[in-house]
């Protein structure tokens, strides 16, 4: 049995209908009624001219609206039979800015069938025998959308909703409606409800399971024909006497024996294909609420697509839906393509880097064999989640440069793992740091402020950061830093009245190189330096000494 399909029946209809959990709901919430609305307006316009509603347009419009939800389809001949008239009434009231009472008074002495139809329909509203089904559909569509958003909507995409949270949200939503109804004095039986039945316990069971019902009637027809007429109960409130009424009916069949084998086989054939569980909703809202309830019971959830912002049924961890958008592709396909292109770009940049290395470095034979480490799928998944989380918040809690730096670090770390120059523990430390960073970024994105600084513990524990391969000459200057010269003394202000200013003496240099270096140093400081102080400045210039380095010499020995 398919877990996501349930069947329901409606009053005054002997057929059974089905709901595909979550799909029916999504279809209804996204159904576009524009065409139906246009058809109704056209029907109203023609009816004003001709004095009667054009049946072809009406039947067409009804067919369109019946596609919105199976319940509307089931009740199209009963509750929703006047949905087009309802739409026309709504349109007239809206366009002419009049109330129902005024429109009713206008049509109280109808001159044609069109006015009669409008008069009759509004009279039904007034007598509580009907409601405007069109406005009801529109309001219920909004209700369903709001409920989906309330239950499944989240601002923290990375924190997956648990079953408990979803159920609590749903209960809270329903309770809010109940509280409002209660406070407004709405009677219990006025609100929509659903009954759980089997085909044999339906109110119209005698007709829904007609073959077996006929056979049963033949057995008891004599007793039943002499029975007491209970139809008068229809106009009375039987809320408190259900058992009494049922037992009075049962009294006529209480001596029933089990039928013979032939009759039982006949019943078996007739009942076999009937659903074992059948819901009997009394309104569209009841079906919508039922669908929510069953979805949550059966673990069928929805998620907002990060691509198009519409909800979709959750089938896996993917955060994008399978709806085809204006580009002709699904959001999921688009996202996968984006990821592929990012990966390609990353590969390309890596290839560029590796191509540059041999130009500078003459690769020596490794002194020690490096063992490559494979990253587990769980770690990959963790990396991806962190990447997604931070990527989404670029510009909100984390700026672009910081994100690029972070992603580059991660990329380098992975590459180093593959070539055996980093360990999993280093990666784990980096990911732990990233988790903390992510939390800070989330908080910052909520408050729309820059995130608080996160301590880079991974750098403390692992001195050599997995930086990309750089030209060896640059590295050399890092590995052999120049001694920092003492800062030159500048003009000193003793007090506001007594300022000691040395007279200007032009500088003299032995070589152009000395002059250049001296000027560079001064410009850096941005202040004038006294010549005698400058003389004290000790600048040691070493000629570059080019020599071959091994990887260990360049980057230091790895653990």
């Amino acid at each position: 049995m398919n877990n996501s399909i349930v069947k329901f029946a409606v009053y005054d209809n002997n057929n059974f209908y089905k709901i595909e959990l979550s799909k029916t709901l999504l279809h209804f919430t996204e159904f576009d009624f524009t065409y139906f609305w246009e058809q109704c307006i056209e029907a109203g316009r023609l009816a004003r001219k001709s004095g009667r509603l054009p049946q072809n347009i009406i039947s067409n419009a009804k067919t369109v609206v019946s596609r919105a939800h199976p319940f509307i389809e089931a009740c199209l001949a009963t509750d929703y039979s006047e949905v087009v008239t309802d739409c026309i009434i709504e349109y007239i009231c809206h366009s002419e800015r009049i109330g129902l009472e005024e429109l009713w008074a206008r049509c109280i002495t109808p001159k044609n069938l069109y006015e009669t139809a409008i008069f009759r329909r509004i009279s039904e509203y007034k007598a509580n025998r009907a409601m405007n089904r069109w406005t009801s559909i529109v309001r219920l569509q909004e209700y369903a959308r709001n409920k989906i958003d309330f239950i499944f909507g989240t601002s923290e995409e990375d924190a997956p909703l648990t079953e408990e949270i979803i159920r609590t949200r749903k209960e809270y939503f329903d309770l809010a409606v109940s509280v409002a109804a209660n406070e407004l004095g709405c009677p219990d039986n006025a609100l929509p409800s659903v009954r759980l039945c089997t085909p044999a316990t339906l109110p119209n069971a005698a007709f829904a399971v007609s073959k077996v019902s006929k056979a049963i009637y033949r057995r008891f027809s004599e007793a039943l024909s002499q029975g007491q007429d209970m139809s008068a109960l229809e106009s009375k409130n039987c809320f408190k006497i259900h058992d009494q009424v049922a037992m009075e009916a049962y009294a006529y069949v209480k001596n029933m024996s089990r039928p013979g084998e032939i009759d039982m086989n006949f019943a078996l054939e007739a009942i076999r294909d009937n659903p074992t569980e059948l819901y009997l909703p009394d309104s569209l809202k009841a079906v919508i609420d039922l669908e929510f309830e069953l979805m949550i019971q059966r673990g069928i959830y929805m998620r907002k697509c990060e691509g198009c912002g519409r909800y979709f049924t959750v089938t896996d961890e993917n955060t994008r839906c399978d709806r085809i958008n204006s580009s002709g592709k699904t959001c999921r396909m688009q996202y996968e393509e984006l990821l592929e292109s990012i990966a390609m770009a990353a590969k390309a940049s890596m290839a560029d880097e590796t191509m540059e290395v041999p130009a500078v470095i003459v690769e020596p034979e490794p002194k020690q064999e490096q063992l490559s480490v494979t990253i587990s799928p769980e770690t990959e998944k963790r990396c991806q989640k962190l990447y997604n989380a931070l990527y989404k918040r670029v510009g909100k809690g984390i700026d672009e440069n910081e994100f690029k730096e972070w992603s580059q670090y991660l990329s380098n770390m992975k590459r180093n793992l593959k070539i055996g120059e980093a360990t999993l523990s280093q990666l784990d430390e980096f990911l732990d740091y990233s988790d903390r960073l992510c939390e800070e970024v989330k908080l910052a994105s909520k408050t729309k402020t820059p995130h608080a600084p996160v301590e880079k513990t991974y750098e403390k524990n692992n001195a050599p950061a997995p930086k990309p391969i750089e030209p060896i000459a640059e590295k050399q200057t890092e590995t052999q830093p120049e001694p920092i010269p003492a800062e030159p003394q500048v003009a000193t202000i003793v007090s506001s009245d007594e300022v000691i200013v040395k007279p200007f003496v032009p500088q003299t240099f032995d070589t152009l190189f000395d002059a250049f270096m001296a000027g560079y140093s001064d410009e850096e400081e941005g202040e004038k330096v006294a010549p005698e102080k400058r003389e004290k400045k000790h600048v040691e210039i070493k000629m570059p000494q080019w020599e071959r380095l091994t990887r260990e010499d360049a980057y230091g020995k790895k653990d």
Partner: protein
């Protein structure tokens, strides 16, 4: 009053009176049926509006979900009550002399025309069963001729009749008390609207005839 086709005019006005009587008879039943299960669903003011705006066709009340059948009006589904219809028509017929007040310019219906109208209505089935209705055609004619004010069109005779002849409605029940209250208001309001309808009809017959001739 000058009608181009006097017979057609008198028959047409007689038909309107008969239809009015039938409408009043049906309206009572329809509104009575509210008590069956629609007491809090149907606003009686709406029902009155429908009746008074459709003097000759009360079937519009069905739009409010009201039905006349053995369940909703079982107390009225008997021979005794059926006599109410000809009596209602009679009660309207005896007031025909008041149509003398309808003027088309200086023209008004003659006594002969009014009497022929009265006869036409009576021939179509009006009856004063057990002389329940105290008013007569001659009395009304006299009052109109003297310019005196007529007694209001009330439901007194109706109530007297059901108290004495229709036991199912004479019984003290919620539904029957509702009926007695509603007829008091309905009779007076209905007659007022029917008078207006008849005035329009008479003017219509005098105005329509030349147009027909032109055609």
């Amino acid at each position: 009053m000058l009608f181009i086709n006097e017979t057609a005019a008198i028959n047409g006005i007689a038909d309107t009176i008969i239809k009015g009587g039938v409408s009043l008879y049906n309206a009572i039943k329809y509104i009575y049926s509210i008590t069956e299960k629609d007491f809090y669903n149907v606003n009686i003011k709406d029902a009155f509006k429908v009746v008074l705006n459709n003097i000759t066709d009360t079937d519009s009340l069905q739009a409010l979900g009201l039905r006349i059948n053995d369940r909703t009006c079982v107390e009225m589904q008997n021979e005794e009550y059926n006599r109410v219809l000809p009596m209602i028509v009679y009660s309207l017929a005896v007031r025909i002399p008041t149509l003398k007040n309808v003027k088309n310019g200086d023209d008004c219906m003659t006594d002969d025309q009014l009497y022929r109208l009265y006869t036409a209505v009576m021939e179509k089935g009006a009856e004063n069963y057990k002389d329940m209705i105290s008013e007569t055609f001659l009395e009304t004619k006299y009052l109109v001729r003297k310019g005196k004010k007529l007694p209001p069109f009330t439901a007194d005779w109706y109530k007297t009749y059901i108290y004495t002849n229709v036991p199912s409605l004479a019984e003290i029940t919620n539904k029957n008390m509702f009926l007695l209250g509603l007829v008091d208001v309905l009779f007076a309001m209905f007659y007022s609207c029917l008078e207006e309808e008849l005035h329009n009809k008479i003017i219509e017959f005098t105005a329509d005839m030349p147009e027909d001739e032109e055609k």
